[in-house]
């Protein structure tokens, strides 16, 4: 019973992660300049990869319930990967944005008449 629930949750999570990956990619293509694109790219890092890893963790939990003790190490590694991602993603985004602004790139702006 609980395994079925976990399995469904895992697939829902993986599909959600894929959704955010695709939306992030669309954002990279649609948005006008490097700074705004970094917002979209950050989305694939935080939410897309995060949900994918969550889904995979559910799968390993299902495996552990079936008695596959070797899945523990997979679960630990997934947690490490996520922690690494959460730690490095903002730093690399910051470094990229900083490099862009230091090299003299002007952020794109629109005439914001809709909201001030």
């Amino acid at each position: 019973m609980i395994e079925t629930v976990l399995d469904y949750a895992s697939w829902a999570s993986i599909l959600g992660g894929l959704f955010f990956m695709v939306v992030g990619t669309i954002g990279v293509l649609r948005l006008p300049d490097v700074f705004t694109r970094l917002h979209a790219a950050g989305m694939t890092d935080t939410m897309g990869a995060g949900l994918l890893i969550l889904g995979m963790s559910f799968q390993t939990v299902v495996g552990i319930m079936h008695g596959e003790t070797s899945y523990w190490s997979v679960l630990i590694r997934l947690v490490f990967v996520y922690a690494f991602l959460m730690f490095t993603s903002p730093i690399s985004t910051h470094a990229l944005a900083r490099a862009a602004i230091v090299s003299g790139l002007e952020p794109w702006t629109n005439d914001h008449e809709d909201d001030a």
Partner: protein, 157 residues
Amino acid sequence: MLRAVGLGAILLTFWLLLSGHYTPLLIGFGVGSTALVVFLSMRMDVIDHEGVPIHISTRLLLYIPWIMKEIVVANIAVAKVILDPRLPISPRLVTFHGSPKTDLGRVVYANSITLTPGTITIGVSGQEYLIHALSAADLDSNEQDEMDARCTQVAEG
């Protein structure tokens, strides 16, 4: 010195969690590797209150659930903006004043801002943060104040 021992303990735990093979030979290699890495880190001078922030670790762990919630909320907001056919963005550069005073607190705050999509920290200079925001809605001052307060609390107790 205490921090070096702390770093060694953390690294050895990291090794044992990754390894999964608990033979005397491999545990011995783990101990040796940890010693080598701690030695190199001391030579590189990366062991200090910034490099090994064990004093804030519990508060940082307590901070994680809140920042996760913020990440989810911000992601959904940005996804809506991207999928909107009109693409309602109004990017702008703004300067914030943040209250964390220590370097560690400034890093936690800057990274929290970058982690929530919609805002990116471009530069940190003293207590001034140069932020690039995707639209005005991402600059909700209540939320930023709360994040500011929480980050200060994480880093400075």
